[in-house]
Symmetry: C2
Subunit: 399 residues, 2 copies
């Protein structure tokens, strides 16, 4: 029997309309000859009683420093409640469904509460229910660690549950249902004619997410990639075809654009004295000791520069000044990234983009590039203009 894993977010479980649509998708998969394994998130958004954030507030209002193990146990209830709601909605349509916690679905994680990683999935329990022709509903975002405690997977957790189950059950594919029509080439709030991608490779989508695009979490993609299980991003509420994420898709030179706002550029220097190279290392160590992530690190003969998240600006400046460095911070920057697996080995892409930005009077403060990504640091005030120019130039809207 061919298995398909279908993941539904909170909005698809919380309302009668959402549930009706989700149930249609599940029944449709069965009618196409698949055995559906359904993964659900907690119901609704902050303010609704069974939403993750509401459960968090319930105890944060008692004591701000909740034990991570207990916090995981608490918020795991949100997804468990959703499994029973969805199983009951299916039963109401005459289908036999079984609701499973992450632990009952055989999902074993490490003990890193609040941000656990799936170590292995024992598919035996799910397979037993599938053998009895039941639709299996699994609580997303959670697992169990070696000492028997409930763990949660952190951000993107339910998507990761779905893709990891897809790999463990050797599913035909994994469907991630959201409330958008698929992955956009670019943030549609910045470029109104942003298009839905028909398909994208695993590594491109990971890079899009890392560079700030609000898409599926890289961890979820990695889990699918390991089993080469295709992922489809679809809309619960529309019949749009969605976006296919797979290993081999026709690679374009440029696939999408992503951006990160509220970035601060940090410049440290001049670094005087004897060993300037060692001084640069010490600057980096100062940041590491302050547990501040840095990116786009560059070096000049007697200075070093990098970017940090805006929220870390005060701490970074304090740490560097305490260590005695001349430090300049420039908040209000943005990082724009152009992603495309086809860029590898194609010369001149960065030159073309720099030229476009320059013509528009946009100053490029820093650049960086990796295999399939070119990134530019600009002033945040130039962001929407830059995005629109890049979009027009590389014709993303027409992919």
């Amino acid at each position: 029997m061919k298995i398909v894993v279908q993941k539904f977010g909170g909005t698809s479980v919380a309302t009668p309309e959402g549930r009706a649509k989700a149930v249609e998708r599940i029944i449709s998969a069965r009618e196409q000859g698949f055995q559906p394994v359904v993964v659900v998130s907690a119901m609704g958004r902050k303010g609704e009683p069974y939403a993750t954030d509401t459960l968090i507030d319930l105890v944060k209002n008692i004591h701000t420093d909740v034990a991570p193990r207990e916090m995981d146990l608490l918020i795991s209830c949100g997804e468990v409640i959703s499994t029973v709601v969805m199983a009951t909605a299916l039963r109401n349509r005459g289908y036999r469904a079984v609701a499973l916690t992450g632990a009952q679905a055989g999902i074993r994680t490490d003990g890193n509460h609040g941000n656990a990683r799936i170590m292995e999935i024992d598919p035996e329990y799910i397979n037993r229910h599938l053998a009895q022709d039941r639709i299996v509903i699994v609580a997303g975002f959670q697992g169990i660690c070696e000492d028997g405690s409930v763990t949660t997977l952190g951000r993107g957790g339910s998507d990761t549950t779905a893709t990891a189950l897809g790999a463990a059950l050797q599913a035909e594919y994994v469907e991630i249902y959201t409330d958008v029509d698929g992955v956009m080439t670019i943030d549609p709030r910045l470029v109104p004619d942003a298009a839905i991608m028909k398909d994208i490779s695993y590594r491109e989508i990971c890079e899009m997410a890392n560079q700030g695009a609000k898409v599926i979490h890289p961890r979820a993609v990695e889990a699918a990639m390991s089993g080469k299980i295709p992922i489809k991003i679809k809309n619960t509420f529309s019949d749009a075809e969605g976006t296919l994420i797979a290993e081999h898709v026709a690679e374009r030179v440029i696939t999408g654009l992503a951006h990160l706002s509220d970035i601060t550029q940090v410049k440290v220097g001049p670094l005087d004295g004897g060993d300037v190279q060692m001084a640069k290392v010490k600057v980096l160590k100062t940041m590491a000791e302050a547990r501040i992530s840095i990116d786009m690190t560059g070096v000049a003969p007697n200075s070093i520069f990098f970017i940090i998240k805006g929220e870390d600006t005060g701490r970074a400046k304090a740490a560097l000044q305490k260590a005695g460095y001349n430090t300049t911070v420039d908040p209000g920057c943005a990082k724009v990234s152009v992603i495309g697996a086809g860029m590898e080995g194609v010369p001149g892409v960065m030159a073309d983009i720099m030229e476009s930005l320059d013509k528009a009077g946009i100053t490029v403060l820093q650049t960086s590039d990796s295999d399939i990504t070119i990134s530019f640091l600009i002033k945040e005030s130039d962001l929407s203009k830059a995005i629109q120019i890049l979009h027009d130039d590389i014709e993303l809207g027409k992919i």
Copy 2:
């Protein structure tokens, strides 16, 4: 180390005032040299989001016939949420607490969803946490059955969790905290000067509960009785001494009064024809086949009579008439029971009571007696008068 099990109901967990009182009780036990193991119910009452009835409604609103296995999984979340709330309230006072589901506490049950029985408790998991000097908080009302599904224990479930844990952990005693000062000799809504019992034996309290008194569930008492663990019924919100339930207590002739309202008396007869004895058996079998519980069964030469719950009246009448019996039903009766382990072998108790009722003009429709209980069937309209007379006569208020 000496262990004490402390059980707190929903009202003690749901409000800051209740939690503050509960936390005081827990800390106080520690300061007296005990290791507390705390059992909690779901928070609040119907209408509040994490109360058992609210969770039930959540899915009953989707489909009336919810699968029992899934219903158990859903409502088990109510107590799990309470464990984390209580653990956090203790952490807020600087104590290390760990929250455990029924499964994590080693509570194994049969697979009778909605009304499971505890088969065994593996104390290893709790003991491991106690060895690290943590206060252990256990979700009441739930366990896990052999196939790994979550089960719930039915009515009185959290009390049963507490007493069964008390027995498994060989606790010094089990404290059941409620919002009343202890077990009353009689329903205080009927007799304003009803007194709190100082102590009562296991079998007397079971009989009180069976005969309609709103006290601890007999299953919970049985679990404590098996390990000879004393139970203390106490008030979270007052410093009243409460009621001790134990094996050997000074036995009074009469300990308490209980009653069941909305009772129907059923008379079947005359039973004509050949084998009247066999006809009586067939009447009883008719009731059994209709799955109607009967009580106070009596026989006359050519008739048989018994009592049933008022809600079963229609079904009982229909089944008996369908089988061709002359049937008379008298709804609106009440069963009053006088309970006291000291009655055994004391002659004349029933005579004394009958006399008191007769003098007051109250007709006794039926009587029954067992080891420690004498019961009277009367018209429900005579109930409060009868209770008051019995209370005055036997001086329950002065025990």
